[in-house]
Symmetry: C2
C-alpha cells in the first residue's frame, strides 16, 4: 500500500473529525424542527435519526473543501448540515422493511423500529425536504446563484440519476451474479455521488474556478468509491459492537459488493488505489489540503 | 350559496382544465427520466404515478396565476410540472401500506400495488427530489433569485411544517375525537399548503408586488381548504367509478374530516364560504382573474 498510513497521517485525524462532528451536531440540533402537537412523533423521529450519530464524514468534506476556498465556516456548516440531513434521510429509507430491513444503525434501533414505519417514511421525506430548505435560505450564502447551484447539485446527486437509482439497483441485483462494472456503478450512485457532492459543495460555496472545482470533485468521486469498498470489507471483517450495526449481512442478503466480485485482497487493493488517486487530485492545493489527504488515508485504514 | 354556479360559470371550465392538463402531461413526459438498466422499474414507477392522471388543478393554478403577472407560459409550465411532481410523490407515499393503505388511485392500482413497496417509496423520493431539480434549472427562470424563492417556498410547503406534518397528524388522530380547529389545521397542512403555494408560485415567477402576492396567496389558501372539504364530502357522497378511488373510506378508517365534525350541510356551507372568500381575494385583478374565479366555483360544484 502506497498510502502512508503511519508516516504522514497525523495521529489525530479521528480527533479532528470528532471535534467537527460536535459542531455539526450542535448546528443540526438548531436546524431540526422541534415542537408540540400531534405531529410531535415526526419531529422526534427526524431528530432521532439525525442527531448523536456517525462520523459526519460528508459534512466534514463540505467544510474542509470550503475552507480551501476561504469560505466562512459558519456558512459552510449550514451546507454541511444539509448534506448530512440528506444522508440521514437515505439511511432511514434504506433501512425500511420493504428495503434492506435493518433493525440496527449506529448502535441503536433503526428509525422504523424506534418509532413506526409510517413515521420513519415521513421523517425521511421531511429530512430530504429540509435539506433543500436549508440550502435555499439566504443564511447559507448571500448569492442566490450559489444557493441555487447547491440545490441543483444536491438534487441531481440525490434523485433518479443518483442515490435513488443506486438504491433501486442495489435491490434489483440482490442474489444475482453481477460484474465489477455493475457494482462500481451501483456504488458510485448509491454512496459515491453524495460523498463527491460533499467535496464539490465546498467548491460551489467558494465559487472556485473550473480547474479547482474539478480537482475537488475528482477527489470526492474517488474517495466515495474507496469509502464504499472499505464499508463492504468491514461488513465482512468488522466487529458488530464497534460498527454499531449488524455485520456479515451483505453476503446473507445477497448484496452486490466488490468484495464478492474481486475478493478481499482485490477489493482492498482497489480501495487503496482509489484513495491514492483521490490524494493525487489535491496536488494543486499544496499543504492547505493536508487534512483532506488525511481523510482519504483515514477512510482506507479505519476499523469502523 | 352566493357562488354563482350556473350564471357566471362558463360551461367549459372543465374543458379549460382538460386542455391545460394535456399540455402539462406532455411536459411531464419530457421531464420525467426514462432509460434502461436495472433501475428501470424506478423510472417506470415515477412515470406511472405522474402521467395519465388527475385534473392537474395545482399546475393549472401555477400557470393561471403566473399569467396574471405576464409570465411566459412555457416557463410557468415548468414550475407547474414541479408542483405536480411534488403532489404525485405525496400521493404515492400516502397510499403506502404503512400509511393509508390504498389500493386504487385515479382508477388504477396504486404505485406500490402496480410495482412493489420498495419501488413505490423510491419513486416518491425521486419525484420529490426531481421537483426541486426542475425548479433550480435555469430553464425555469433566468433569475436565480426567483428560482431560489420557488425552492424555498416549495420546501417550506412540503416539509415538517407543511405537508409531511399534515400527513403525520392525519395518521395520529385517526379514530380519535377531534375538534374543527384540529381538522382545519391538519387539512391546511396536508392539502391546503400545496394548493396555496401553487397560486403563490405564479406571483413568485411574476415577481409580483407584496399586495398582489398576498392576494393570490390568500386566494390559494382559501381555495385549498375549500377543495379539501369538498373532497371529504365526495368521499361520503361520491361515485367510486367516477372518482377512480375507493369512497366511504374516511369514515371506515376513522379519518378526521370536517364532514365528521360539522355534518354534511355544515361542511358544504364552510366550503362555499371559503370559495367565496377566495374569489373576493382576486378583486384587484378584475377580469384578468376570471378563470381563477371559475376554478373556485368549479371546486365547490365538482362531482369528482
Amino acid at each position: 500500500m502506497n498510502v502512508p498510513a503511519t508516516a504522514e497521517t497525523p495521529v489525530d485525524i479521528a480527533g479532528v473529525l470528532d471535534a467537527h462532528a460536535e459542531r455539526i451536531e450542535a448546528l443540526l440540533d438548531r436546524l431540526l424542527p422541534d415542537g408540540e402537537g400531534p405531529e410531535r412523533p415526526l419531529l422526534e423521529a427526524m431528530r432521532y435519526a439525525c442527531l448523536d450519530g456517525g462520523k459526519r464524514l460528508r459534512p466534514y468534506l463540505v467544510t474542509a473543501t470550503a475552507a480551501l476556498f476561504g469560505v466562512d465556516g459558519e456558512r459552510a456548516a449550514r451546507a454541511a448540515a444539509a448534506v448530512e440531513m440528506l444522508h440521514c434521510y437515505s439511511l432511514i429509507h434504506d433501512d425500511l422493511p420493504a428495503m434492506d430491513d435493518d433493525e440496527l444503525r449506529r448502535g441503536r434501533p433503526t428509525c422504523h423500529i424506534a418509532f413506526d414505519e409510517a413515521t420513519a417514511i415521513l421523517a425521511g421525506d421531511a429530512l430530504l425536504t429540509l435539506a433543500f430548505e436549508v440550502l435555499a435560505d439566504p443564511a447559507t450564502h448571500d448569492d442566490a446563484d450559489v444557493r441555487i447551484e447547491l440545490v441543483r447539485g444536491l438534487s441531481g446527486t440525490a434523485g433518479a440519476h443518483g442515490m435513488v437509482a443506486g438504491q433501486m439497483i442495489d435491490l434489483a441485483v440482490e442474489h444475482r451474479a453481477v460484474d465489477a462494472a455493475t457494482v462500481e456503478r451501483l456504488q458510485a450512485l448509491k454512496t459515491g455521488a453524495l460523498i463527491a457532492f460533499s467535496a464539490e459543495a465546498g467548491a460551489i460555496l467558494g465559487e472556485a474556478g473550473p480547474d479547482a472545482h474539478e480537482a475537488v470533485l475528482a477527489y470526492g468521486r474517488d474517495l466515495g468509491r474507496s469509502f464504499q469498498i472499505v464499508d463492504d470489507l468491514l461488513d465482512e471483517e468488522g466487529d458488530e459492537e464497534a460498527m454499531g450495526k449488524a455485520v456479515g449481512k451483505d453476503a446473507t442478503a445477497g448484496k452486490a459488493t466488490l468484495v464478492g466480485v474481486l475478493g478481499r485482497d482485490g477489493a482492498r487493493a482497489r480501495a487503496e488505489e482509489l484513495a491514492e488517486r483521490a490524494i493525487a487530485s489535491l496536488d494543486r492545493f499544496g499543504a492547505a489540503a493536508e487534512t483532506l489527504r488525511d481523510v482519504a488515508r483515514f477512510v482506507v485504514t479505519r476499523r469502523t
